[in-house]
C-alpha cells in the first residue's frame, strides 16, 4: 500500500505557481528523493505533506491522513527534519532530545540516538555552541526521536562536510533497514543516487523525470557519448547523424549503438588518414542528465 499518494497537487502563492500538477506514489519502506534546484517547488511539496502548508488543489493522502487536517495521531507517526535547524539554543543536546522525545508515545533512547548521530561528545553542550554540521545532526536526531514510520528529510546534508555527509547517509540507510519510509529532498544528484530507491526530478513545479537512479532520464541514460578532437577537417561524411561539432573542434556523437558507431567512426577516420585526438567513450553521468533535465545543461 502506498504510504504517500498525491494526485494533481497544485500550490499557488498569490500569482506564483509553486507546484503545478504533481503526482506521486510512494510505497512503505521506500526511499524517495525529490531532486531539483532551489525554487523548483520541492520544499513546498514536502511542507504540504508534513501539514505545514495548505494545498491549493489536488488530493493528498499520507498514511491515510489528509495532512492539512491531521492532528496529533498523524504527527506521532511522522518525523520531520527541517531545512533549517530550529531548536532552543539555551538547551543542551541531551535536553533538546529529551524534551522533544517526551512528546511521542514511542521514542528512541536519548543516549543511543546521540551516539547514532555522532554527537556523543556534545551530549551536555549547549546547542548555541554547536557547529553548523553538528546542528544538522541534532536536527536529524530530533526528526527521528519519535521512532517514526515516515521521515521527511528536507535537504538533510546541506552544509555538511564530506565525512558528516557520509555519516548522515549511513543514518538514512539505518532508517531504511528498519523498514521506514523516507521522503527526502536534495540538491545533489549523488545524494539521491546513493540513498534513494526512486527519484523524481522537479523543475518549475513539475516532475520532469521519475524513476530509479539507473533508469532516470530514459534514453539519455542509455546513450553513450563518443567524443574526439578534430582540427582542420570537416565532419562531412561522418557516418553518424547524431554528431555535433563545437567551436573548438570537439566532436560529440550521441550513440545508442556504441560498438557499431565506434567501428564506423574509426573506419571513417582511418580511410581519410585523420587522427581522432582525445577519443573517449563515456556514458553521461547522472549529474549531466540531471542538469539537462532541469534545463541547465549545456548541449553535450
Amino acid at each position: 500500500m502506498a504510504v504517500i499518494e498525491v494526485q494533481g497537487l497544485v500550490k499557488h502563492y498569490g500569482e506564483v505557481e509553486a507546484v503545478c500538477g504533481v503526482d506521486l506514489s510512494i510505497d512503505a519502506g521506500e526511499v524517495f528523493a525529490l531532486l531539483g534546484p532551489n525554487g523548483a517547488g520541492k520544499s513546498t511539496i514536502v511542507e504540504i505533506l508534513e501539514g505545514h502548508r495548505a494545498k491549493t488543489s489536488g488530493s493528498v493522502s499520507v498514511l491515510g491522513y489528509d495532512p492539512a487536517k491531521a492532528g496529533r495521531s498523524y504527527r506521532e507517526r511522522i518525523g520531520i527534519v527541517l531545512q533549517e535547524t530550529a531548536v532552543e539554543e539555551q538547551l543542551t543536546v541531551k535536553e533538546a532530545i529529551d524534551v522533544y522525545g517526551s512528546m511521542y508515545p514511542k521514542r528512541r533512547k536519548t543516549g543511543e540516538l546521540i551516539e547514532l548521530v555522532g554527537l556523543g561528545e556534545k551530549t551536555d553542550s549547549r546547542i548555541k555552541a554547536l557547529s553548523g554540521g553538528q546542528r544538522r545532526r541534532l536536527e536529524l536526531a530530533l526528526g527521528i526521536v519519535g521512532d517514526p514510520e515516515l521521515v521527511f528529510l528536507d535537504e538533510p546534508t546541506t552544509g555538511f562536510d564530506p565525512s558528516a555527509r557520509r555519516q548522515a547517509w549511513s543514518i538514512v540507510e539505518n532508517l531504511t533497514s528498519l523498514g521506514k519510509t523516507v521522503l527526502l529532498t536534495a540538491h545533489y544528484m549523488d545524494e539521491a543516487q546513493y540513498l534513494a530507491d526512486r527519484v523524481a526530478v522537479i523543475a518549475k513545479g513539475q516532475i520532469v523525470a521519475e524513476g530509479t537512479p539507473d533508469t532516470l532520464g530514459g534514453r539519455e541514460t542509455a546513450s553513450t557519448l563518443i567524443t574526439f578532437q578534430m582540427s582542420g577537417h570537416s565532419i562531412e561524411g561522418l557516418p553518424s547523424n547524431e554528431a555535433t561539432l563545437s567551436e573548438n573542434g570537439r566532436v560529440t556523437v550521441r550513440s545508442m549503438d556504441p560498438t557499431g558507431d565506434l567501428h564506423r567512426i574509426t573506419g571513417w577516420a582511418i580511410e581519410r588518414g585523420v587522427e581522432l585526438a582525445g577519443l573517449s567513450v563515456t556514458r553521461p553521468s547522472l549529474e549531466d542528465i540531471y542538469l539537462e533535465l532541469i534545463g541547465e545543461g549545456t548541449d553535450a
Binding site: 506521532e76 530550529a86 539555551q90 508515545p105 546541506t158 552544509g159 540538491h187
Partner: protein, 276 residues
C-alpha cells in the same frame, strides 16, 4: 495510543524547559528580575523612605508592590511576546507544530512558566522590601493580593501572546511591548505616585488600559489605610475582560511560521545563496 504521554506530564515538562530557557537567557532574566528591583532601590534612595504625604504610606510601602507589578508584567506580557516572536523567527514554533505536542499544551507551558517567573519576581521584590525597607504585609489583604496577582498575570500573559500573534518579528515584538508598557507605567501609577494634578485625559487613558487596574488594587493590598479584605471586583473584572478578548484575538491571529521574507525565511535565502 496506550503509551501516549499524559497532558499533565507534557504540560509540566514544557513548563520546566521554558523555565530553563528563561534562566539561561541572561538579558531576559536581568530585565525581568533585577531591573525592577534596581528601580525600587533607586527610588527609595532618591525619595528617601519617608511617608508620601496624602497616601499615608512610606515610599517603599508604595514602590515595593508597584514595582512588583511591573516585574510581573515584564515576566508575562513583555517576555512572552518577545520570546514567542523570536522563536517563531527562528523556526522553533514551526518545529513544535510538526510534533504531536498539542499546540495548547505548548502555549500553556509558556504561560505557566511566565506566571511562575512573575511570582518569583514578586516574592523577591516583596521580601527585599520587608527585610530591608520595613514594608508591612497585612494578613487581612493577602488573599486579595494573591488573586489580583493571578488575574493580572493571566491577563497580561494573554496580551503578550496577542502581541506575539500580530507582530511580524521578534524585533517588532520588543518595540511594541516597550512602547506600550513604559508609557503606561508612567500613567498608571507604577513609576509615579498618582496625583490629583494629572489632566483628565491622562486619567482616561490610564483607566482604559488594564495596567492601572492591576497596580492600584495590588498596591492597595499593602496599604494600612485599606479597609476590609481589599477586594476590588471592578478592577478584577476589567482585567478578566481584557484577558478574554486577548485570548480570542490571539487564537484568531496566531501564526506558527514567520511571514515569508521575514525572520527565518530571509535567513534561509541567504543560506541558499551560499550553497548554490
Amino acid at each position: 495510543m496506550p503509551d501516549r504521554p499524559s497532558t499533565f506530564f507534557l504540560l509540566w515538562s514544557q513548563t520546566k524547559y521554558q523555565n530553563k530557557i528563561f534562566f539561561r537567557n541572561p538579558m531576559a532574566a536581568f530585565f525581568t528580575l533585577f531591573f525592577p528591583l534596581m528601580i525600587f532601590v533607586v527610588f527609595s534612595l532618591v525619595f528617601g523612605n519617608q511617608e508620601i504625604g496624602y497616601l499615608g504610606v512610606t515610599t517603599a510601602q508604595y514602590y515595593a508592590p508597584s514595582m512588583a507589578v511591573f516585574a510581573a508584567v515584564s515576566a508575562t506580557y513583555t517576555n512572552l511576546a518577545v520570546t514567542t516572536a523570536y522563536q517563531r523567527d527562528r523556526g522553533i514554533l514551526k518545529r513544535v507544530r510538526g510534533t504531536p505536542l498539542p499546540p495548547a499544551v505548548y502555549l500553556g507551558g509558556k504561560i505557566i512558566s511566565a506566571i511562575m517567573i512573575a511570582a518569583m519576581a514578586v516574592l523577591i521584590m516583596m521580601t527585599i522590601g520587608v527585610v530591608f525597607y520595613g514594608v508591612q504585609v497585612y494578613a487581612s489583604t493577602l488573599a486579595s493580593a494573591a488573586v489580583t496577582f493571578i488575574v493580572g498575570v493571566a491577563s497580561f500573559a494573554a496580551l503578550g501572546l496577542l502581541i506575539a500573534a500580530v507582530v511580524s518579528s521578534g524585533e517588532s515584538a520588543t518595540a511594541v511591548t516597550n512602547a506600550t508598557l513604559l508609557p503606561l507605567s508612567f500613567f498608571s501609577g507604577v513609576f509615579i505616585v498618582p496625583s490629583d494634578d494629572a489632566p483628565a485625559w491622562l486619567d482616561a487613558v490610564a483607566n482604559f488600559f488594564p495596567l492601572k487596574h492591576f497596580v492600584e488594587p495590588f498596591v492597595a493590598a499593602f496599604s494600612p489605610l485599606t479597609v476590609g479584605a481589599g477586594w476590588d471586583w471592578g478592577s478584577l473584572g476589567y482585567m478578566v475582560l481584557w484577558g478574554v478578548i486577548a485570548v480570542v484575538l490571539a487564537i484568531r491571529f496566531f501564526k506558527w511560521e514567520a511571514p515569508v521574507g521575514r525572520g527565518g525565511k530571509s535567513r534561509r535565502r541567504k543560506k541558499d545563496a551560499t550553497v548554490t
